[in-house]
């Protein structure tokens, strides 16, 4: 069975939905390669969440211009040797296409080198990993005579460290934004249904699109699943999609505990959730503070959660699942921790604690980078700067825009580093001001 997400992958840039500014930039970049003027930025970095059209755009670009393609995916080995052998080599020589044409760059026929998930190299994990992969990517971008596109979810992973900064200066970043559900529903899902002869209410397509959270591939996959062996999709089918979804179950259980004033119903709901109890606890833990507005209610709720956690720990240690019942009891008790009745504020958040862990690692990385820069001024090691100065520096940085702007110039801070220091406030102002300072300095010099 062909996946619709593949079958209906746009063939041409003009078929790409959304991100039109980005597409225009990419087209101009392609024109430049075609005309024989190698653009200053020989590589583009496509940044964006899964399913927003990064890979599709790269493939469509090659197709529009009649270029060959070399693609390195996460499933390929991407260590230094392999990237040099395939991507770098491919980037220096002319190419044969799969159709048996010789593609001459003099005639504007290029070979597009696509490195997918370039932020996802498994470096430093023994010989089978992608050791040296990033270094080889950087070298390829430096020497290439052919267009290169790097595709990432998380540009920070690609641009971190000194090597990353070098790379950042060599490339142009193209940000892909998530499509809104209307675009997904009316431009993409509707087209697919028409071609597959599926009768479906507009409203249902909207709901599929909404559920995807901007991930077109996910939306198409859901649609395909619902349409399996049918010619019409009804409201009822949509429910199937929902109940098959485990997150929805946890979601409703969490919702129930927050809204309900009855321990008994909460306990019953918890019993019926077929999921890891610690994950349920994390869901409640993640969302309770946004919903229990009275601090005393909240305090009691957290007391119960911590008791539940205590028993989870005991289960783990003793491998005695008899305690599971107590975990559920305490979690259910969260619903009677409140003296007030609350409505629900907005969407519950998923306790994506993996994401949180990545975030933590990232803030440590930023802290290290900034400390390193700062250490050149404090004339201390990075560690002691980190220990003695960083907190004070960050505090002043946050409160004094002038100080922030000057230090942005002096330390050559990146936008992300400023965001990190200020907690994402006044970033624009600081950047603007630092630009003024740069200008003035330039005039005096």
């Amino acid at each position: 069975m062909i996946e619709w997400a593949e079958k209906y992958r746009p063939k041409s840039l003009k078929d790409i939905v959304g991100n039109q500014d980005a597409i225009q930039k990419i087209r101009e970049w392609g024109e430049s390669w075609k005309s024989g003027n190698i653009p200053k930025k020989k590589a583009l970095v496509f940044e964006g969440k899964p399913g927003v059209g990064k890979t599709s755009t790269a493939l469509a670009l090659a197709n529009d211009f009649g270029w060959g393609i070399i693609e390195l995916n996460a499933s390929d080995i991407r260590n230094e040797e392999h990237i040099k052998e395939i991507a770098m080599r491919g980037s220096l020589y002319e190419t044969f296409s799969d159709n048996g044409d010789f593609l001459s760059s003099k005639e504007g026929k290029r070979k597009l080198i696509i490195i997918d998930e370039a932020d996802n190299l498994y470096e430093g994990k023994g010989d089978s990993g992608d050791r040296g992969g990033r270094k080889a990517i950087i070298e390829t971008v430096k020497v290439t005579m052919q267009p290169v596109i790097l595709i990432v979810n998380d540009p920070y992973e690609l641009f971190k460290g000194e090597q990353g900064q070098v790379l950042r200066n060599l490339v142009e970043e193209i940000k892909f934004r998530s499509l809104n559900y209307k675009q997904i529903s009316s431009s993409i899902l509707k087209m697919i249904c028409a071609r597959e002869n599926i009768i479906v209410d507009r409203n249902i397509l909207d709901r599929i699109a909404q559920k995807s959270g901007g991930d077109v591939r996910a939306a198409i996959n859901d649609l395909q699943m619902l349409a399996q062996g049918k010619k019409t999709i009804t409201e009822k089918d949509l429910e199937n999609l929902g109940s098959r979804d485990i997150v929805e179950n946890i979601y409703s259980a969490t919702l129930n505990i927050i809204l309900s004033m009855s321990m008994k119903t909460s306990r019953e709901v918890l019993n019926s959730v077929d999921e890891d109890p610690s994950l349920i606890m994390q869901w409640i833990d993640e969302n309770i503070a946004h919903e229990y507005l009275d601090t005393e209610d909240l305090s009691r709720a957290f007391d119960y959660i911590s008791d539940a956690n205590l028993y989870l720990g005991r289960i783990r240690r003793l491998q005695y699942y008899g305690f599971l019942s107590y975990v559920y009891d305490f979690l259910a008790a969260v619903s009677i921790a409140k003296k007030h009745k609350y409505g629900i504020h907005g969407k519950l958040n998923s306790p994506d604690f993996l994401k949180a862990m990545a975030q933590r690692k990232r803030s440590k990385d930023y802290r290290d980078i900034i400390s390193q820069k700062l250490s050149k001024i404090t004339h201390q090691s990075q560690d002691s700067t980190n220990f003695e100065f960083f907190e004070i520096f960050m505090r002043i940085f946050r409160n004094d825009i002038n100080f922030a702007a000057w230090n942005t110039v002096i330390l050559n801070l990146s936008e992300e580093e400023i965001e990190f220091l200020t907690g994402n406030e006044n970033v624009e102002k600081i950047l603007e001001k630092s630009k003024d300072i740069m200008k003035k300095m330039g005039n005096n010099a």
Binding site: G68, R89, D98, F102, K111
Partner: protein, 241 residues
């Protein structure tokens, strides 16, 4: 499909293909065997054709495509002598290799997962038929000089040279020492030396026919399996700044 051939010939075929790829699609028809492959960087291609007369026994009643892991063949052949005869027989999704009392089966690869390139028709203006030994010498001395080597044909001679940061090498063969030379006006292009080196080490042909254009791929034709088959090697030129 059930065939027999000299171990030496199969070894030559696999060694040649291994210069570019680790897996290849062997296409057996009633007429004979054909293999085409392109390397991952899309810079070089090899096309090999062996008529059924090149085999000791050739029993192919319908077109058969076999996806073959070349390293496995190579490993098996290590334990045989070049004067042996090998039998290759397809059994469902497996290939049975037998040499004397020694045999092994190997799982074949889904042929649809291996891309077979079409071979471009290039219309190259110049042609020189060069003794392989001299050609190989010219490439081998260039190995540590530069990453690239220039092939150059003029109406009077065949040249091959490389220029590094400090050193340079060249090979010049005048027309009367070539088996054949056709060239109206001179042509030259720059090619990756390591591809040529790996290729030249893998062939046994006495002569190679070098077809050349300016900033165009080179097409090298050669004999395989003692003249029982033919091979074509295509290599794309370096993009000049």
């Amino acid at each position: 499909m059930d065939i027999k051939m000299n171990v030496k010939d199969l070894k030559e075929v696999t060694d040649l293909l291994l210069t570019l790829v680790t897996e290849a699609k062997f296409e057996f028809s009633k007429k004979g065997l054909s293999v085409k492959c392109v390397d991952l960087a899309h810079v070089a291609m090899i096309v090999l054709e062996l008529n059924k007369e090149a085999f000791l026994e050739y029993d192919v009643t319908e077109d058969t495509e076999l996806g073959i892991d070349l390293e496995k063949i190579k490993d098996f052949l290590k334990n045989t002598s070049s004067t042996d005869v090998i039998e290759m027989k397809k059994e469902d999704s497996k290939l049975l290799l037998t040499v004397g009392y020694l045999s092994r089966t190997m799982q074949t690869i889904d042929p649809s997962s291996i891309t077979v390139p079409k071979v471009p028709s290039l219309g190259l203006p110049a042609k020189a038929v060069v003794p392989t030994e001299q050609f190989a010498g010219g490439i081998k001395v260039a190995e540590n000089i530069s990453d690239n080597i220039t092939l150059h044909i003029t109406p009077t001679e065949f040249r091959l040279y490389s220029t590094g940061d400090e050193d340079s090498t060249r090979l010049i063969i005048p027309k009367d020492l070539l088996k054949d030379l056709k060239c109206d006006s001179e042509v030259k292009s720059l090619y990756p030396v390591d591809y040529l080196l790996r290729f030249i080490k893998a062939i046994n042909s006495e002569y190679v026919t070098v077809n050349l254009g300016t900033d165009y791929p080179v097409k090298i034709e050669f004999d395989i399996c003692n003249g029982k088959g033919t091979g074509v090697f295509l290599l794309a030129p370096r993009i000049e700044e």
